[in-house]
Symmetry: C2
Subunit: 302 residues, 2 copies
């Protein structure tokens, strides 16, 4: 349809668009930052014991200023001819070489001084990958990528009552470690309630070896991952095709940072899985049935 209506300047839509020049104004740069999580197995410590699982995050060692030598989230600039999601998928593919993957937009970070180079606004994405599918081709890229074990805990909590409400300050400790490096950060989350108005503020108190504001982005991502684990089926993106319920429970436990009771856990996830006729072998104890994801699981959320 050709719209022939005129605007106040007496110009048609076609002419208006042809004359439009976005470059008249200064614009920020836009990047995507990827939180790529996986869960890996350690070695068996004992012929009986199950191998321990750990939550891992992919980071890149910076080879240039700023934050030279520190670790940052993989990511890059959004091209003019690709959508935000496509840019995220492209970065993901570059780092992990996996196509079919769970990916979700998290949040867009837009503080003015968050990147010392220039005004850069960054949209963060979270994706979950099965480490079995990954190990085939990991970090074959030339850049200095490495997986870090993620630990995220509440460190201190303080509540102050005020006249109109209260202030809740919580200090979280984020630890990222592997054989090569040990990174950490403290993130302060301040919730101020005054009358009916509540405000939440997040500040990086101390960032050791983590570039930019990425400690905060990681904190946000871990919290989202934890909360979504409880009411969606995202955990299965971290699992191989076949798995035991014990392994699935381990994944929940390592992400949530708590122990769960077996009987209750099984009840909770019962509808999400389908049993197979296969069993594990060569365990120093009773073999367990293998399950797969139930693709007809009715998920009310999202």
């Amino acid at each position: 349809m050709t719209d022939t209506r005129l605007n106040k300047q007496g110009v048609t839509e076609q002419a208006f668009l042809a004359a439009y020049d976005a470059r008249k104004y200064e614009r920020p740069s836009v990047t995507v930052d990827m939180l790529i999580f996986t869960v890996t197995q350690e070695k068996k410590k004992n012929y009986r014991k199950l191998p321990e699982k750990t939550l891992r995050l992919l980071l890149i060692k910076r080879g240039d200023h700023p934050f030279l030598g520190q670790w940052s989230l993989p990511g890059g600039f959004v091209h003019m001819d690709e959508s935000l999601d496509d840019a995220a998928l492209r970065e993901l593919k570059e780092e992990t070489n996996i196509d079919t993957i769970y990916m979700e937009q998290l949040y867009t970070w837009g503080a003015v001084g968050r990147d010392p180079r220039a005004r850069i606004i960054s949209t963060s994405y979270m994706s979950l990958v099965d480490s079995a599918a990954l190990n085939v081709k990991a970090s074959d890229d030339a850049d200095d990528a490495a997986w870090f074990t993620v630990s995220y805990k509440l460190y201190q909590e303080q509540k102050t009552l005020t006249e109109q409400g209260h202030i809740l300050e919580r200090l979280f400790k984020l630890n990222l470690s592997n054989e090569e490096a040990e990174l950490s950060a403290m993130i302060k989350v301040i919730k101020t309630v005054s009358g009916k108005i509540a405000k939440i503020e997040r500040i990086i108190i101390d960032s050791q070896g983590i570039a930019f504001d990425h400690a905060q982005i990681i904190q946000y991502g871990v919290e989202r991952l934890r909360s979504k684990l409880e009411y969606t089926d995202i955990a299965f993106n971290l699992m191989p095709e076949l798995f035991t319920l014990g392994e699935l429970q381990q994944v929940y436990e390592v992400i949530l940072g708590t122990e769960l009771l077996k009987a209750n856990f099984r009840r909770k996830i019962a509808g999400m899985v389908v049993e197979t006729n296969e069993y594990t072998k060569a365990a120093g104890h009773r073999p367990s049935k293998l399950f797969r994801f139930n693709p007809n699981w009715e998920n009310t959320a999202e």
Copy 2:
């Protein structure tokens, strides 16, 4: 601290940053789009009946190409010296003249062709305002702003079983109306489950009078508002200082689009409110106690 380390090109951080020029690359424009919700009262239809409440959204009539004459969300470009949040607050202030307000970032929209003028990436924010505080100074701005009644309903649902899972297609109908105009859109939400990989896609099927991809942004916002209503205290941002529990329930009902049972509703919100010694007057029925928000309500979520 002055970092004197050199990168691979033998340049210090200081020199690197001084030479950095972001303008070398083409960049998209970044805007914020505001979803400003309020709940207003209709006239009493009967000396006994409570006045009906409706959920309202603020829209702006476009006075220029593209989408000339259609309605869009208020918003604008992010300046180079302000954060994303500050840009959103500025837009909010321009439209409503209110400072202390609930505001939350929703999602960032980054499809390539979403704006015919140029490559524009837009971060959407949702804010909730008390209509009582608002009516003092509403839309005094020169631009053509108006409040629209929001109706959002599931229209059609279709489930197709496939070999590896299923496809769930849901069609939602969004209606925005006031005395002046009647806008509508159909939004299709497609959830594809294949094996363990689930994908959600949202498409605008038909947008009548709503500019750009804003129908989709509104749909996303209404869904977020509904879900947050159930597990947080955001509803109180739509309430005046003092309110009756009946009024509060009306607000919940009009947003959720369902009727709630009084006794159960009261149980649910019991901890969030504090009673006062005041009562409503001149009702054609038993007067009701006035409540205020309980600022010491322990909210576990977020």
